[in-house]
């Protein structure tokens, strides 16, 4: 689903955000991307949905050569994947329903499809009953679920999450992670960038650890802290 080979990203100010990163993520995987703030997690995600291009290296997402993608082809790429952010990025003057429908409407979907897919996405995230409410009438967790519904309404094969629980309390965080797990079970590849230790440790999924723009470890069923994971593995 995702393939990075020797990907480096140097910002115009000279900061090297990613340094020779190679990574393969298969279809249907659930992967955590961990590391301190500023280690390149968000940069890596931005490369995947082509917010930026890499300075060097190859990037393939769902069979599309993202690193060489012409500007005019970017919308097509984005329709194949969903992106979720820490700050939800909802439109406060639109209802939950309208926020989710927006993703379809602005890509030229037929009203028939909007009316079929929006309720489906809202039911998936458990917000069918709140579809007429506005974002500021919802809890943080509900807002994030709305954002996830919007990311999924296109039925993407890949869901990218950048600190999805960054603004949420532990209860809501658990709720969102459970939702992501269910989404993953339905076959969607999920990539979550986070520095929430509890989440990573509880889920026990593949963990790719970045430090200073490099992949330093890549474990199946990992923990947030390398030391902790090894200790557990050694003692268990």
């Amino acid at each position: 689903m995702i393939s990075l080979r020797g990907v480096s990203l140097v910002y115009p100010n000279g900061v090297r955000a990613l340094d020779n990163v190679s990574l393969e993520i298969g279809k249907g995987e659930f992967v955590f991307l961990v590391g301190h703030s500023g280690t390149g997690k968000s940069s890596l995600l931005r490369l995947l949905y082509r917010e930026m291009g890499p300075s060097s290296g190859h990037i393939i997402v769902d069979g599309i050569r993202v690193d060489r993608l012409a500007r005019g082809r970017i919308p097509a790429l984005r329709r194949h994947l969903g992106v979720v952010f820490q700050d939800y990025k909802l439109l406060n003057d639109k209802t939950v329903w309208e926020n989710v429908a927006f993703a379809l409407q602005v890509t030229g979907a037929h009203t028939r499809d909007v009316q079929r897919q929006v309720p489906r996405a809202l039911d998936l995230v458990g917000l069918g009953h709140k579809s007429r409410m506005y974002p500021d009438e919802l809890s943080g967790g509900e807002q994030q679920r709305t954002a996830i519904a919007r990311a999924l309404v296109n039925n993407p094969k890949l869901l990218l999450c950048d600190e999805p629980s960054g603004n949420l309390d532990p209860a809501n965080t658990t709720e969102i992670m459970e939702l992501l797990r269910r989404i993953n079970l339905k076959g969607t590849t999920v990539l979550v960038a986070t520095h929430n230790q509890a989440v990573v440790d509880r889920m026990r999924r593949r963990v790719v650890r970045l430090d200073n723009g490099r992949v330093i470890t890549d474990e199946e069923r990992g923990y947030y802290f390398l030391g902790l994971g090894q200790d557990q593995i050694l003692s268990g």
Partner: protein, 301 residues
Amino acid sequence: MKNEGTTSLDWGRIRFFLGEVQRNFTRNAGMQITAIGTVAVTIVMLGVFLYARSAFIHAESGIFNQIEISAYADPSATAPQEDTIRTALAKDPRILSVTFVPKREGLAQMRRLMRGEIDTSLLTENPLPDKFRIRVRDAQEVPAVAQSISRLPHVQNVEYGRQVVQRLLQLAAVMRPVGIAVIVLFLLVAGIIISNTIRLTVFARRREISIMQLVGATNMYIRMPFICEGLLAGIAGTAIAVGALALARASLVPKIASALPWLPINTVAIDVSALVLELFAVGAAVGAVASWIAVGRYLRA
């Protein structure tokens, strides 16, 4: 994916799109009014200018058509000698028509013209020479034709409104480039102001635009509501301007015509509906192009 069935007319989609345009338009109402006002002022100026210009062109052609060369035969010239002048004039392709005014008729004309001013009955003999009244095809040729006539044998004197002709020719030569420059300037000003207005709307909607880009809307789709907004501003401004111009024309033109009767304006011949169409086309184009540029800058950034 879900783009099947786009061939059928989808009212839901059209409603959504119109809603977007309307939201754009009402979001910056204050700035929008400014933009419309600027377009209106610009189009009024442009309209007045074009109107005056075409009035002048009509007047100009009227004046030029009236320009005549008077060639006076030598008073001692005999009839056959005058015939040679006539033949020479007839051969010149630049000359449209020649009217011979014998001196007797010339005197009669003068009597009519001077009635009540000079007592022409005091004239004991006819002091006037025989005259040829010559009309030229192209006003630009008048000086050259006049000169070549003056070189003909038995022609004593040639007269034409030398100064008037030269002034008019100069004026006509200056009018066109100055007019174009002024129009271009007006349009630039209107375009910049519309462009800034659209940029404000774009800025107010940057969050929506970033989400649109995130979920895979094409730049064309993102642009459309803004282009429509610019178009609307351009058309609304033009409508106001055309209304104002129509009022002004109805109330002012007769006054000007009666206050300055010597002004050779011919407003009847002006094709007003073509002018209005031109103004609307210009207003709409300025709006659309300005917003295209404004959004384009944002989308590339």
